[in-house]
């Protein structure tokens, strides 16, 4: 797992994903890439740009317009030893495949006592912030993480996107790969090795007063928040989960036991969102170190808003700073906010 990464360089997340697919296609002839418009068009976000012409339409091809069909056939292909990487064009368009994903993709390995392995990767551009119309900005992670048998990952940076996607394709388990579409064009130097193992979280900034936990598009937002908090004399540690399921208890628990405070952030609606699990399990493990209940900053419990109103829905630096302020620092010396 190094290959063409030698000549590393600044890449957008979309470009990094494209290179990861190219490197896997080049390195393993059992890898196939298909879905809607991933062929000649290169995908609506150009993540598969140039792959069909480079690897041929036996390796990278457009499928008929049918998501259950895409996932269902990927299961059959994987049963035959292939490693399909399929794309759902937007979050909400993975829902027609819900039965194939939950009743088969997640369960066939268990059903057959491990005889069938399904190394299928389902790529889903997820979340909002791009002014997309309804159905194009959902955050569906809560559905997937609650489904045993699925691994769920979400990169927050371009370099991590490259390595996580390669790790996902290399994994023998089915992986839901959530791509934060609003960060597709954010650039980063490609590191020459993954920052962490598949399944592990990564501390993107160390701090002592509060732990900020997020994934996907929120990683950037949390780093901005930590910067702003520093101005106010609050030292925030930022954890990029990377892997939502399995969940990295070691990294997160260690941090929260150290800081005694935490805020969990995601775009998805808060009610029964993934943040609830993070808050609940960290509270179970860090109860006596906590100075305040773990805060949650999430989207409201509403359908994703129309483009002109989405700014109100998405977690912002200000909202996260307010959540930090609510963590009962009063008993400790903290600079008052500007």
């Amino acid at each position: 797992m190094t290959a063409t990464v030698a000549q590393a360089s600044e890449l957008t997340m979309a470009g990094a994903l494209n290179r990861a697919l190219a490197d896997e296609l080049a390195g393993n002839d059992r890898v196939v890439v298909y879905g809607e418009d991933v062929g000649p068009l290169g995908g609506v976000f150009r993540v598969t740009d140039g792959l069909a012409s480079r690897f041929g339409d036996g390796r990278v091809f457009d499928s008929p317009l049918a998501e259950a069909g895409i996932v269902g056939t990927a299961i059959g292909m994987a049963m035959h030893g292939m490693r399909p990487v399929v794309e759902m064009q937007f979050d909400a368009f993975s829902y027609p495949a819900f039965e194939q994903i939950t009743s088969h993709l997640a369960k066939l390995h268990n059903r057959t006592r491990g005889r069938i392995t399904l190394p299928v990767v389902i790529r889903i551009p997820f979340g909002g912030g791009i002014g997309g119309v309804e159905h194009h900005c959902d955050s569906s992670e809560a559905y997937w993480v609650h489904t045993p048998g699925l691994k769920v990952v979400a990169p927050g940076t371009a370099s991590d996107a490259y390595w996580l996607l390669r790790q996902a394709i290399a994994s023998d388990d089915p992986v839901i790969f959530l791509e934060p579409k609003r960060r597709y064009w954010a650039k980063e130097e490609l590191s020459d090795a993954p920052v962490a193992e598949f399944g592990q979280a990564f501390v993107r900034r160390t701090g002592t007063d509060v732990t900020l936990i997020g994934y996907g598009s929120m990683v950037t937002t949390l780093l901005e928040t930590a910067e702003a908090a520093a101005q106010e004399g609050i030292s925030a540690e930022v954890i990029d989960l990377r892997s939502l399921s399995p969940f990295d208890d070691l990294t997160t628990v260690a941090s929260v036991r150290k800081t005694g405070r935490a805020v969990v952030v995601h775009e998805a609606s808060g009610f029964a969102g993934f943040g609830a699990e993070i808050a609940a399990r960290l509270t179970e493990r860090c109860f006596h170190q906590l100075h305040a209940p773990i805060g949650r900053v999430t989207g409201f419990d509403i359908p994703y808003p129309p483009p002109m109103l989405e700014e109100h829905h998405l977690p912002s630096v200000d909202r996260i700073l307010d959540a930090i302020d609510r963590l009962q620092f009063d008993d400790e010396p903290v600079m008052p906010r500007g």
């Binding site: 290169g42 457009d62 008929p64 119309v133 309804e134 509403i302 109100h312």
Partner: protein
């Protein structure tokens, strides 16, 4: 030996047509040409529709619309379908069918609300018997079947028209809708606008069937194949099917062969997947030109009438441009108002939180100004 009594459900080998691309009448023994008044009205609707469509595309360039999926080239389908419907009938359109909705009488600004982005649907579906434009492909076909069946159970003679594209026919929902409609003999007409592409994917990668209309027989319903750039024919076929449904004789599947002249949306780059020559060839089959020529050759259309039509189109386009240049008024409270019919405590609380946040924000803005 093929199954006899079912064979009547297969489409004709050649698409049914009334007016050819060159504007001449197409020999059609078993289809009556709509009357002059109807034909002229179809032209008027298409002229108005196309002008609306070009105006909408222009608005995307001026940043007044986030995105717009043009239906240029598909005017005959969109207009022919709507003209054949009664007011009491229901239309179930997709994101592609804005022209049809304008033709249905919906305020163009309300049609574009979804794409401007101030709300998901700008009009009252009950006012115009038109469902919100549907984004998840093929899902609207089932809503049409349900509404049509409910109307029938209630003793009404309402008909539902479900619009979908060639790509959407590959979705499971289309299958379930066609099947349930047939089993229930629901008064529905399924109009497939086969414009050759699903974004970048050509029909050949979507189906192996000789035509999409060949699917009808598999559900025990007639499959009808028509020239989708011939407004007269689309109108005639839709009228037949709607009457059939209204009379209690069940659903019909109509495939209209047409072409998407523009890219999938203004955000799409069609040069990546199709040749310009293909577009040029289809421009020669333009639905407006051919009907206009036919009407002129048959003395139904004179320069005055044509001028009236273009004037109407220009006037409506101007009013639309004007209206869209004004910023819509937004109310963040609305985010919480319609999630449930019966408001929940949690949402009232969240609405209050956002209101406070915005108030605080405005306050600090004022300070800054002060």
């Amino acid at each position: 030996m093929t199954a006899t009594n079912a064979a009547g459900l297969l489409p004709t080998a050649e698409p049914r047509a009334l007016i050819d691309a060159d504007g001449s009448a197409h020999p059609a023994p078993d289809t009556a040409m709509p009357g002059p008044g109807i034909l002229a009205d179809l032209l008027r609707r298409m002229v108005v529709g196309r002008r609306f469509d070009t105006q909408a595309t222009a608005l995307t360039k001026q940043g007044r619309l986030a995105v717009y999926p043009s239906a240029r080239g598909q005017e005959a389908c969109q207009v022919g379908a709507v003209a054949a419907m009664a007011d009491r009938d229901w239309l179930f359109p997709t994101y592609r069918d804005s022209m049809a909705m304008v033709s249905r009488g919906i305020n163009p600004v309300e049609v574009l609300t979804l794409l401007r982005g101030d709300w998901h649907c700008g009009y009252d579906p009950y006012l115009h018997r038109t469902a919100p434009q549907c984004t998840p492909l093929a899902t609207n076909t089932l809503h049409a079947v349900g509404l049509a069946h409910a109307a029938r159970l209630s003793g009404e003679d309402t008909v539902a028209v479900a619009m979908l594209g060639d790509g959407a026919t590959s979705e499971g929902d289309t299958h379930e809708a066609l099947n349930i409609a047939a089993v229930w003999q629901a008064p529905v007409v399924f109009l497939v606008q086969n414009n050759g592409y699903a974004i970048s994917v050509p029909l050949a990668k979507q189906t192996r069937a000789e035509t999409l209309a060949h699917k009808g027989i598999g559900y025990g319903m007639p499959g009808v194949l028509v020239d989708g750039n011939d407004a007269a024919m689309v109108y005639a076929a839709m009228s037949e099917a709607i009457e059939r449904a209204r009379a209690g004789n069940g659903p019909t599947l109509i495939e209209a062969l047409t072409y998407r002249i523009e890219a999938h949306t203004n955000a799409d780059d069609a040069t990546r997947y199709r040749e310009d020559s293909e577009v040029t060839a289809w421009l020669a089959r333009d639905p407006i030109d051919r009907l206009q020529k036919y009407l002129q050759d048959n003395g139904i259309l004179d320069s005055t009438l044509l001028a009236e039509m273009t004037d109407e189109a220009e006037g409506k386009a101007a009013r639309l441009r004007e209206a869209m240049n004004a910023d819509p008024t937004l109310d963040a409270d609305e985010l919480f108002s319609y999630v449930y019919a019966e408001a929940t405590p949690a949402l009232l609380e969240q609405r209050r939180m956002l209101a406070e946040e915005l108030a605080a924000h405005d306050a600090s803005d004022d300070e800054r100004q002060a």
